[in-house]
Each structure stands twice: as C-alpha cells, then as structure tokens.
C-alpha cells in the first residue's frame, strides 16, 4: 500500500490486538512482576487463594458479561447479593433445611434479575437508572427485613464447604467457577441464545426484524446476572461464615471492571467471557497487591480507581471518530 503522506505504524497482527489477548498478556506480566517483587506471590498457597477470591468476582462477571454484551449494565448486584445471602441465613435460622434456604436465595436473585428486565426491556428505561434504583430498593428491603441487624446464625456446613472447602486440593469455589464458566462460554459461543445476546447488543432492530423478541434475550441476560449474584452471595456467606450488611459493597465496580478489562465493549455487541476470566484475575491480583501495601482504605480507593483507568487507557479505548 503506497499511501503517501500517512504515517505507517508497524503492523501488529490482528489477533494480538484483541482485548482478550492483551488482557491475558497483562495478567501474566502483572503476576510475574508481583512475583519478582515478592516471591511469596508465586507460591501455590497464594495462587490458590487468589483463584478462590477470583471465583467470587468471576461468577458475578458471568451474568455481568451477558448483560454488558446486550448493551446494558446491572448495577443491582451488591444488594441483590446481600439480600440473597441474608435471606438464606434467615431461613436457616428459622429451621428450614439448607437446600431449601439456598434454593430460596437463588430464586430471589433470579426474580430480581427478571424484574430488572421489566424496566429495561419493556419500559425501555436505561438499565443504568433502573438497576441503580433496584439496588437502592433492595437495600431498603434488606434493612426492613433484618431491622438493620443481619441474623447471627451458625452457617450450615454445606454452605461453608461451598464457600471455603477444598476438594482434591482445589478450593470448591474455584471448581464451581470452572464449571459455571465453562457453561457460560458454551452458552455465549455455541448456543442460539448466545448469538442473540451479541445481536441484541449490535443491532436490536435488525434482530427484531428477523423475528426474535429481544425482550426475551434481555430477560435471559438479566436473570442470569441475578442468579450469579445470588450464587456469589451464598459462596461469600460460606467463605466468611457470616452475613453482614456491607457484604456486597465491593462487588459493584469490581466485576464490571473485570468484564471491561477483559475486552468486552461496554456499549455491547462485542467481547466474551474468556476475557472476563482474565479480567477477574487481574483485579484480584491488583487488590491483593494493594492490600499488602500499608495504606489506608481511602488510599486504596484512589489507587484502584487510577489503575482501572490506566488499564483502560492502555487498550480499552474506542475508535476515533472517522477521519
């Protein structure tokens, strides 16, 4: 191509410029740097710990990835997660059997997700507003339900095993993440629903004209997100052996950041769960490095926000307006 006058950059193969690839490269670089600074990071115990915490974020990111691919966003995760967890703990304390309590939590999370879909897909209110409103509503529901005092109950052993147990040397949450993540990848890339998710994010009108009701696609995405939030709530309850009102607070920005760092476009239509996996691990690694540095919470907030922006500047940028 002999285009005179335009600067030619050395060509990088297209597959290398994909967000997914960059995010995995980044993950490896970050890990190596962390391990060089502190050899403890490379130990299996630490890696296992990171994977276990990454599982909580990664599972939430399954639903969030689907919602973001459709071009929406789910900001109701924190209190959906908290309410599901507290509902489960309360039911346990009232003498219901553990599976029933867990089922109720999963059901409640899914129902909240479906409710998110009503506002977004039927009333066409931007999911940003609607799910943020739902989050506030669920906070109120939780406060009323618990009178601002989450039940102090013995967390059943089944839940504790799910949240912090090990199976064949692997943490149970990690195994669960592998299974659920595998299903998510299959659904996104091998099923009709997965294709509809991308189509909705790319051109909803075209999808509608080809005879698909995009409202059902939204329903699937939001319900999955609610379900994932509830699963994470159960796992977190088991992990910390208690429920508390602030347990969801860390799960607003972090899973979304994981999805975006993994190369999924926040405007929808492009990306995938493979990137969200590395995104989850990147944020967990960052958080873990930050927690070893002796700074107060305010400083951590700042550093985390700055790093997210730097990462996005690195490769999350949009195309220039043509020209």
């Amino acid at each position: 191509m002999a285009l005179t006058g335009t600067r030619q950059w050395p060509t990088v193969p297209a597959w290398l410029r994909q967000g997914v690839v960059i995010s995995y490269v980044l993950l490896i670089v970050l890990f190596v740097v962390a391990a060089l600074i502190n050899p403890h990071y490379a130990s299996w115990a630490n890696v296992r710990n990171l994977l276990q915490i990454g599982a909580f974020i990664g599972i939430i990111a399954i639903g969030q990835t689907m919602v973001i691919i459709t071009g929406q966003i789910d900001l109701s995760v924190p209190w959906n997660l908290t309410f599901s967890a507290i509902l489960m703990a309360t039911l346990c304390s009232q003498g219901y059997s553990t599976p029933v309590a867990m089922g109720a939590a999963l059901l409640s999370g899914t129902l909240v997700g479906m409710f998110n879909c009503i506002g977004t897909a039927i009333f066409r209110i931007h999911s940003l507003v609607w799910t943020l409103g739902m989050n506030a509503f669920l906070e109120g529901v939780t406060l009323v339900y618990t009178h601002a005092q989450p039940p102090k109950v013995e967390i059943p052993s089944l839940v504790r095993t799910l949240g912090s147990g090990t199976l064949a040397g692997m943490p149970v949450p990690l195994l669960l993440w592998i299974v659920l993540g595998g299903i998510a990848l299959l659904v996104l890339h091998r099923s009709r629903f997965g294709r509809y998710l991308y189509a909705t994010g790319n051109n909803e009108a075209a999808l509608f004209l080809s005879g698909v009701d995009s409202r059902r696609v939204y329903l699937g995405a939001f319900a999955t997100s609610g379900l994932c939030a509830a699963i994470a709530g159960i796992l977190l309850t088991g992990y910390s052996s208690q429920t508390y009102l602030g347990m969801g607070n860390d799960y607003l920005l972090v899973p979304i950041a994981a999805v975006i760092i993994g190369g999924t476009n926040i405007m929808g239509g492009a990306g995938g769960y493979l990137g969200s996996i590395s995104g989850s691990l990147i944020v967990v690694l960052l958080q873990s490095v930050l927690s070893t540095i002796q700074i107060q919470q305010a400083g951590k907030n700042i550093v985390f926000g700055v790093i997210i922006i730097l990462l996005l500047l690195l490769y999350g940028r949009e195309k220039r307006l043509s020209g």
């Binding site: 506002g119 409103g133 607003l252 997210i308």
Partner: protein, 319 residues
C-alpha cells in the same frame, strides 16, 4: 414553540404540584414560610446536582461521580472553612476549584482517552471518594454561621436557597447553554458524527461539558455544606442515583441531545419532597429507603407507560 420545547418537562411539573398539594393537605404547616423554606432547602442540593448531571447527559454521557464530587467539595469546605470570613471565602473558591478540576479530569479521560463515560466516572467515583476520605476521614467539621444563613435562610416566603439556585442558573447554566459551547454540547449528544463533520471539536466540547458538570456539582456541594453545616465524605451516594433519576424523570434522554433544565429541576424537587413526605408520615427509617427506591422505580415506569401502547415496537427500538 415554547410549549413544544417544554412538553417533556410536563410530567415532573405536574408530579411536583400534585405531591405538594397532597403534602399541604396532610400537613398544612408546610404552607408557612418556615415549611416552604425547609422543603426548598431539602431539594436544592439535588437540584444543582441534577444540572451537573444534565449537562453531561446532554453530551450523550453520564456522570456517576457527581455524588462523589458533591461529597468531596462538602468535605473540603467543612474542614477548612474556619471562622475567618476572608479565609472562608478562599476555601469556598478552593472547593469550587476542586470540583471543577474533578469534572475536568472526567472530561479529559472521556474525551481524549476515548473510554466510555460510565466506566470512567465509576472509577473516578472511587478516586474522588478516596480523596474526600483523606481530607475528612470522619464526618464533622464546622461552618461559619453567616455562610449557612446566607444560603439557607429566608425572607418571608422567599428562601435564599432559591436565590442561590437562580444565581447558579444565571451565572453558570444560561451562559453555558446560550453559548456556542452549549449548542455544541447538544449537537454532539444528538449526532456526534454530524457534529464533527460540521466543524465542532467533539473532544474539546465533551471535555468542557464534564468540566462544567464538575463546577455545578461543586456548587451543589457548597449548598449541602451550608445546609448540613458539616462535612461527610460519603454523603454523596444518593445524589448520583437521584440526579440521574431526576434528569430522566424531567424528560431528558439518556443518550444525549434532548433535554431542557426545567423538567429535571422540577424532578429534583419532586424526589426530595417525596422523601420529606415519607419522613413526615412517621414510618420507620428502614421503610424510607425501601419506599424511596420503590417510588423511583414506579414513577419511572409510569412515566414510560406509553411504551406499552406503542403499535410498532420497531419505533421504540430505533428511538
């Protein structure tokens, strides 16, 4: 036509009148000068924060860090104001500058970094909250009495808060909207590519819109400081949600290009009056959170009920 221009504001205006009527019927005390001043004071922080949100929404973006900027300026003002008038004025200017700088930073990252506004402002929300917490780890601080009185007092039925809002509108909002920049902001929200082709510098316009949003959010933070006479670095969270809600309820469109200030302002007072009404009915504070969220969700649904009557869903998808 004027009527056409403000038709989108109608829901919020009618909503506020109906709600105020109901409140006055339940609680005639609200019609006293004291009651009016109290209600207006309750809503003015949100009203100004809503203007901050609106200017960004007009560009097609959204600013989730509005609440954090409000809280940051609140923390700075209440921590450093002291009692000496000259020093206090200096600190006022400082906190306005801090808010403006925060908005500018949002704008630079969104415009020149080319990253989606949602995720940028979600990240800066963390940063500004962190900075606010460094300035003021615990709620507290002090505010000179004259400052609080100047913004929250009243003159008969005329609360100074309305004068402050009017001053913000006349000194910041109107010059902004009537200028070339204001038209450019609306243009890039309506059609970015079209705006670019007709010679508008999209990036610079975006940057200034966010900067103006930061300045307005700082004004909201100052009013909040006068109203609460203390500083709290975490007080802002409600303003983010409510400002977006007020903007949407007031008839502006998330996605940009359409919206006037009138509806969102009425929407802001509607939402804050709603909280007062809930408070006055004497229900437990736990329920207030719940009802606030529920009412927001219901109000938005009702405002969008017409979607269900749409004959051709394709029109909805393309709008």
């Amino acid at each position: 036509m004027i009527g056409e221009r403000y038709r989108s504001s109608l829901t919020a205006i009618v909503g506020l009148i109906v709600l105020f009527g109901y409140f006055a019927w339940q609680q005639p005390l609200i019609l006293s000068p004291f009651g009016v001043t109290l209600s207006v004071n309750q809503g003015t922080t949100l009203a100004i924060a809503t203007l901050a949100q609106l200017i960004v929404v007009l560009t097609g973006g959204v600013d989730l860090s509005v609440g954090a900027i409000v809280a940051l300026t609140n923390a700075i003002a209440a921590t450093y104001m002291g009692t000496h008038p000259a020093g206090a004025v200096g600190v006022l200017l400082l906190s306005l500058a801090a808010g403006t700088l925060a908005g500018w930073l949002n704008g630079v990252i969104v415009a020149y970094g080319r990253i989606q506004p949602i995720i940028v402002t979600l990240a800066t929300l963390y940063i500004y909250t962190g900075v606010g917490l460094m300035v003021r780890p615990q709620p507290g601080g002090e505010v000179p009495g004259w400052f609080a009185n100047a913004l929250t007092g009243s003159w008969g039925y005329l609360p100074f808060a309305l004068l402050f809002l009017l001053a913000v509108i006349i000194l910041v909002w109107l010059p902004l909207r009537r200028s070339r920049l204001g038209r450019a902001i609306q243009a890039i929200g309506d059609n970015r590519e079209g705006a670019r082709v007709s010679g508008i510098n999209v990036q610079r316009t975006t940057m200034w819109a966010y900067t103006a949003g930061g300045l307005l959010a700082a004004c909201a933070g100052l009013f909040l400081t006068a109203q609460t006479t203390s500083g709290d670095a975490t007080i802002g969270t409600t303003y983010t949600l409510n400002s977006v809600a007020a903007v949407v309820f007031g008839g502006a469109v998330l996605g940009g290009g359409r919206g006037v200030a009138l509806g969102p302002l009425f929407g802001a007072y509607f939402l804050s009056l709603l909280i007062s009404v809930l408070f006055a009915t004497g229900i437990s504070p736990f329920y207030q959170n719940l009802l606030q969220g529920a009412i927001l969700v219901v109000v938005l649904s009702v405002a969008n009920l017409w979607r269900l009557r749409t004959r051709n869903w394709l029109h909805v998808l393309r709008s």
